[in-house]
């Protein structure tokens, strides 16, 4: 009997052969989906109409912010850590401005969001500053300014404010924010795929050096990407303000991290240049479903954060491995 080791590839359907043809990321993705399905089917009350409505409602707010976060990450500028604070400030601004009329309140809130995040984008684009650090600093600055202006108290709508309850009420049985979410996603996807700005943003995210060499307006592109994120934060602020009917800096909870997680779980590349708005939206729905399942299973908020962190960590690593074809260094 020969002692030589047969090094030829095995032809049989062995586990090794399967994993060779299925990249590591896909194996983990399949395992994750199976785990999620088992988890949701064993969670009492998950597959009910009212719970589906709750998931959609929650996903719509996170998803709207995730569309803006997608613009930032696709442009190669990682994440904004001030999105949640901006949403809270926008909710406070919306309720304060209601005295001047609903249209003024909505337009003013969106403009405020665009200015707040857009300014951060200008600094990032103009000076090549680190987006995460700039947005952390801007978040602290924003919190200080909001506390100063509001006196540290919660903001409520003025007594003579117009009726804005439809912004939080169901329409044809589906929560109003879901319609807004769908419109924002469609506009975002068209803007990214069909406009010159969208293509330039993808190119900038793929290779900042090539973008500069091609004389692309890097500062303007970065600023506009952040402005889009600001507008989506403004929309989320309007919807949250209308839903809660009061606004404080603490109402947004983990919105920043939920939006970032949605973008990453959707499969957008951390390094930029890859991904779509639709993927971010799908990620938001997945994150909302997972959060809902954990809540129904009695997980405490910190435990939910822990699970969110694990998901983000796995997705980030697997995305990198997948994009490099399993290359390690």
């Amino acid at each position: 009997m020969s002692a030589a080791i047969d090094t030829r590839p095995k032809e049989g359907p062995t586990a090794a052969r399967i994993t060779r043809h299925l990249p590591l990321a896909r194996v983990f993705a399949i395992a994750f989906i199976i785990l999620l399905l088992v988890g949701t089917f064993t969670t009492e009350g998950f597959y009910t109409l009212s719970n589906m409505r709750a998931i959609l409602n929650s996903a719509s707010v996170v998803g709207i912010i995730a569309v803006g976060a997608a613009a930032i990450v696709i442009g190669g500028n990682l994440f904004s850590m001030s999105l949640g604070t901006t949403v809270a400030v926008c909710a406070m601004a919306f309720l304060s401005l209601l005295g001047a009329g609903l249209v003024v309140a909505i337009v003013g809130t969106l403009a405020l969001g665009a200015i707040i995040i857009g300014l951060q984008g200008y600094v990032v684009g103009r000076f090549g500053a680190n987006p995460i650090i700039i947005t952390i600093g801007a978040g602290a600055l924003l919190e200080g300014a909001a506390t100063w202006i509001s006196g540290g108290t919660s903001v409520n709508p003025p007594p003579d404010s117009p009726d804005f309850s439809f912004l939080a009420a169901p329409l044809l049985g589906i929560p109003f924010p879901v319609y807004v979410f769908v419109v924002v996603v469609i506009l975002g996807e068209i803007g990214l795929r069909r406009s010159v700005f969208g293509r330039q943003l993808i190119l900038m995210g793929s290779s900042p050096k090539a973008a500069r060499a091609a004389a692309l307006p890097v500062t303007r592109l970065t600023t506009v990407a952040f402005v889009i994120a600001g507008v989506t934060a403004g929309i989320a602020g309007v919807l949250l303000g209308a839903f809660n009917q009061s606004g404080t800096l603490t109402t947004t909870g983990t919105l920043t991290y939920d939006a970032i997680a949605a973008v990453l779980v959707g499969g957008l590349a951390v390094a930029g240049g890859r991904g779509s708005v639709l993927q971010a939206a799908a990620g938001a729905i997945l994150i909302a479903a997972i959060s809902d399942m954990l809540l129904l299973r009695g997980f405490s908020p910190p435990l939910q954060m822990l699970v969110l962190g694990l998901i983000v960590g796995c997705v980030v690593v697997l995305n990198y491995v997948n994009s490099r074809g399993g290359e390690v260094r």
Binding site: L78, F79, G137, E143, T147, S300, M305, G309, G313, V321
Partner: protein, 341 residues
Amino acid sequence: MRLTTTTTLVIASAKTPRANRTVALWPIGFALVMLIALFVIPSLSGRTVTIFSVYNSLQSFAGLGLVALALGLTMIIGEFDLSVVGTYALGGMIAVKLGGESPLLGALVALIVCGAFGALQGFLVARFAVNSMAVTLAGYLVALGATGTIGDNRSQPYANFDVTGVLNNPILGVFSLRSAIAIVVIAGIAVLFLATPLGRDLRATGGGRRASRTAGVRVNAIVIGTFASSGMLAALGGTLQSYGLATATSNPGLSPLIFAVTAALLGGIALTGGRGTPVGIAAGALGLCFLSQLFTDMVSPQFVTSLVTGTLLVVVTVFATPSVLRSVARVRQRSAQRTAA
């Protein structure tokens, strides 16, 4: 000897002797100016200032200075550990939960857990070349989630008041055992950094990873070791803070991170990596502690602190960008040419 010409070039390109001098002196100057301001500014508004303000500043330095060093070391190797604020909270919570009877045991477990957690993040960064900000953002969420889970989502008291008392007892008026431990640890790391090849390897790794690897620097080991050290230093900071205040908080917010980044940048650390020393980071952190104490002495509202720290972070980040540094260098060069003419 592993150091070759390539490594020397990497280090040389990262820091010229002139830059060395500037980086070493500026953070110390900043700390001294803040110390003077701590006494002068309240006096101008008729407030009494005592040596107790310096003691308080050093008490804050014991926790936050270590977090700044933890983050700063990862910045020197060209990475960024966002999770320091998570391991800071987690370390403090583990120590309080397990250190009731034996504070050393609590501290040791906190250091081991957070060190292993840091090493895992370092492994992912080194092995898979993953963006460290993305990995450590996940690490931050996991560590903070674990802290809240261990601490039932609320602050946890530390009942061993003897330990708290011993740690806070004033020594020579301005120091305490708490601040002395932090100072000794920071000094030890500074000595390791400046007097052994470790500092050179860290800066070389931050200056250019491929060249460093070619030159024989064990880059992966350096990255994993730095992240492990980062986790341990942040955990020690959290432990000292929790034991000293007799409370472990389940969510300290982002303010320790804002402090750490600002201190590191003021301390001469470049976001591009390869520049800076633990001495600079410590001086930056000390200056910021004096500034923070100044606000406390002036009875400033919390929002003023937020406004100032946020602005300071944005400004120092912009000034640390390569484009602004190049502009400053050009202005200096023109000024020197005019002087020579």
